[in-house]
C-alpha cells in the first residue's frame, strides 16, 4: 500500500477507529517505512500534547454571572403547561411564529364582530316592523334611521303620492327605496325612484338579493336592511 494512503489511515489508527485489517495494514507498513513511522510519531505527539492540556473547569463565578441574566429559581414556563402543545404534536417548529398568529386570529375576529355589532342594530328595524305590520318604510343613503310610512297595504298609488310629496326624491343621488312589510314580518322591496340611474342600481341590488338571499339575510346591503326576504320584486 502506498504511503499517502497509509498516512490517511494513520489518524484513524491513532484514534483507534480502524478495523482489524486496517490496523494490520498500518502496522505492517510502519514496520517497513521509516518516513511513515516518523509521521506516525509526530501525529501521536500532537495528539498527546492536546490531551495533556487537561480538563478546564468552569469557574464558580460563571454561576453568579448567569444568575444576573436568568432567573434560576423560576421553573421554565412550558408553552402550554395546562394542555399538550398541539404545535409540538404536529411537529411544527418555533421558527415561524405560528403561536402568535394563532393567538391573533381569534382576537381579530372578535374585534370585527364587536365593531360590526356597533354599526348594525337589528333591534331598531325589528321594532319598526313589529310596530307596523302591513306598512312599509323607506330609507335613503343619506338618511339615518329609516322613515316609516303607514299604509294598510302595498299599492303603487300610495307610493306615487309619497314621491309627489317630495318624501322620495328620484332626482337626487340618493338611492331611494321602499320596503313593504307584510303581516308575517317579512319585507318585500320595491323601487320607487324614477331616475334611470337609480333604477339600474336598485335592479342590481334586488337581482342579487333574489340570487343570494342567504347573503342578504340579516345583513346590511348598501342602503337596505334586510331581515328576511321571502320574495323580492323589482318594478319599473
Amino acid at each position: 500500500m502506498k504511503c499517502n494512503k497509509i498516512r490517511k489511515m494513520i489518524h484513524g489508527y491513532i484514534d483507534d477507529d480502524l478495523g482489524p485489517d486496517g490496523r494490520f495494514a498500518v502496522e505492517w507498513h510502519l514496520e517497513t517505512c521509516p518516513a511513515c513511522r516518523k509521521y506516525f510519531h509526530e501525529m501521536a505527539d500532537v495528539r498527546e500534547n492536546l490531551r495533556g492540556l487537561g480538563a478546564v473547569k468552569a469557574p464558580a463565578v460563571l454561576h453568579f454571572m448567569l444568575k444576573s441574566r436568568v432567573r434560576f429559581s423560576t421553573p421554565r414556563p412550558s408553552p402550554a403547561w395546562f394542555l399538550p402543545d398541539p404545535f409540538r404534536l404536529l411537529g411544527v417548529r418555533d421558527a415561524f411564529p405560528w403561536k402568535a398568529v394563532a393567538a391573533v386570529i381569534p382576537v381579530t375576529v372578535l374585534l370585527f364582530v364587536f365593531s360590526a355589532s356597533l354599526l348594525y342594530h337589528p333591534g331598531d328595524l325589528k321594532g319598526i316592523i313589529a310596530a307596523s305590520p302591513g306598512g312599509f318604510y323607506s330609507q335613503s343613503r343619506s338618511a339615518g334611521a329609516p322613515d316609516r310610512f303607514v299604509a294598510p297595504e302595498f299599492d303603487h298609488d300610495r307610493m306615487s303620492e309619497l314621491a309627489d310629496a317630495g318624501v322620495l326624491t328620484p332626482e337626487t343621488d340618493h338611492l331611494d327605496l321602499a320596503a313593504l312589510v307584510n303581516p308575517a314580518g317579512n319585507v318585500e322591496f320595491t323601487y320607487i325612484s324614477g331616475d334611470p340611474r337609480n333604477e339600474e342600481k336598485v335592479r342590481r341590488i334586488l337581482d342579487s338579493a333574489v340570487l343570494s338571499p342567504a347573503v342578504l339575510n340579516g345583513r346590511k346591503v348598501g342602503t337596505l336592511f334586510v331581515l328576511s326576504v321571502e320574495r323580492v320584486r323589482a318594478e319599473s
Partner: protein, 216 residues
C-alpha cells in the same frame, strides 16, 4: 442523589456544585423531556463541558466566560424547539461551536487581535485549568514548565483556522467520536476525518516553529 432520578422542580443549587455525584458529565439529563429541564440542572450538568470548549476554541478566559453565558441562555431559550434528533449534549456542543465561530468572526471584523485577559497571566491551577492527575504533588519548577507547555500548545491552537481548531478540540481534547463530531459540527464523517488529518499536520508544523514571544 442516585442516578436516574429526575431532579425535582423545587431543588435548588446551594453552595458549590458537588461534582462527585456523577451529574456533571452531561449524560444525566439525556432522555428527559426538554421542557421539564430546569435551568440550574442544565447548568450543573454541562457547565464544565461548555466552558472547556469555549476556552479551547477562543483561547481567552474572559471571552470563554462570556460565551458560556450566551450558550446557556440560548440553550435554555431554545429547549422547546430541540427535536431530539441528536443527543442533548451534541446539540449543546453545536450551539457552543456556532457561537464561538460568530464570536471569532466578530473579533476579526472589529480587528481585536492579541488580546490577553488578565486571567491568562495567573497560574493555571488558580484558574482551575489543571492537568490530569492534578492532585499529585509537583514541584514549583514542574508546575511552571507544565504551565508554559500548556500555554504554548494553547497559543499554537489559536493559530489554526477555526474549522480545523474546532475539530481538533472536539476530538483530541473532548474525546468525542467521529460521528458525534459530525453531528455537532454539521458535516459528514469523511470530512471530519480529513479535517483531523489536516489539523494535526498544521498543528505539528506550527509547534515545530521556534516559540515567539508574542502574547496570545
Amino acid at each position: 442523589m442516585e442516578p436516574g432520578r429526575p431532579l425535582a422542580r423545587n431543588e435548588h443549587m446551594d453552595g458549590p456544585p458537588n461534582l462527585s455525584d456523577g451529574r456533571h458529565d452531561g449524560t444525566y439529563l439525556e432522555g428527559f423531556d426538554p421542557t421539564d429541564i430546569r435551568f440550574d440542572d442544565l447548568f450543573r450538568c454541562y457547565k464544565h463541558m461548555v466552558f472547556q470548549l469555549s476556552y479551547r476554541l477562543l483561547g481567552n478566559y474572559d471571552d470563554a466566560l462570556e460565551l458560556s453565558q450566551d450558550v446557556f441562555c440560548k440553550v435554555y431559550k431554545n429547549l422547546g424547539s430541540f427535536r431530539g434528533e441528536s443527543s442533548l449534549k451534541t446539540w449543546i456542543y453545536r450551539i457552543t461551536v456556532n457561537l464561538s465561530r460568530n464570536k471569532i468572526r466578530w473579533r476579526k471584523a472589529k480587528r481585536i487581535f492579541g488580546m490577553r485577559a488578565i486571567h491568562d497571566l495567573e497560574p493555571r491551577s488558580v484558574l482551575g485549568l489543571e492537568r490530569d492527575g492534578g492532585e499529585r504533588i509537583r514541584t514549583p519548577e514542574q508546575c511552571l514548565l507544565e504551565d508554559e507547555c500548556d500555554q504554548r500548545v494553547q497559543r499554537c491552537l489559536q493559530d489554526l483556522p477555526i474549522k480545523l481548531r474546532t475539530i481538533l478540540v472536539l476530538r483530541d481534547i473532548d474525546g468525542m467520536s467521529y460521528e458525534e463530531i459530525a453531528q455537532g459540527v454539521g458535516i459528514s464523517v469523511g470530512t471530519v476525518k480529513s479535517r483531523i488529518a489536516r489539523a494535526r499536520e498544521r498543528l505539528r508544523s506550527i509547534l515545530a516553529k521556534p516559540a515567539s514571544g508574542r502574547a496570545s
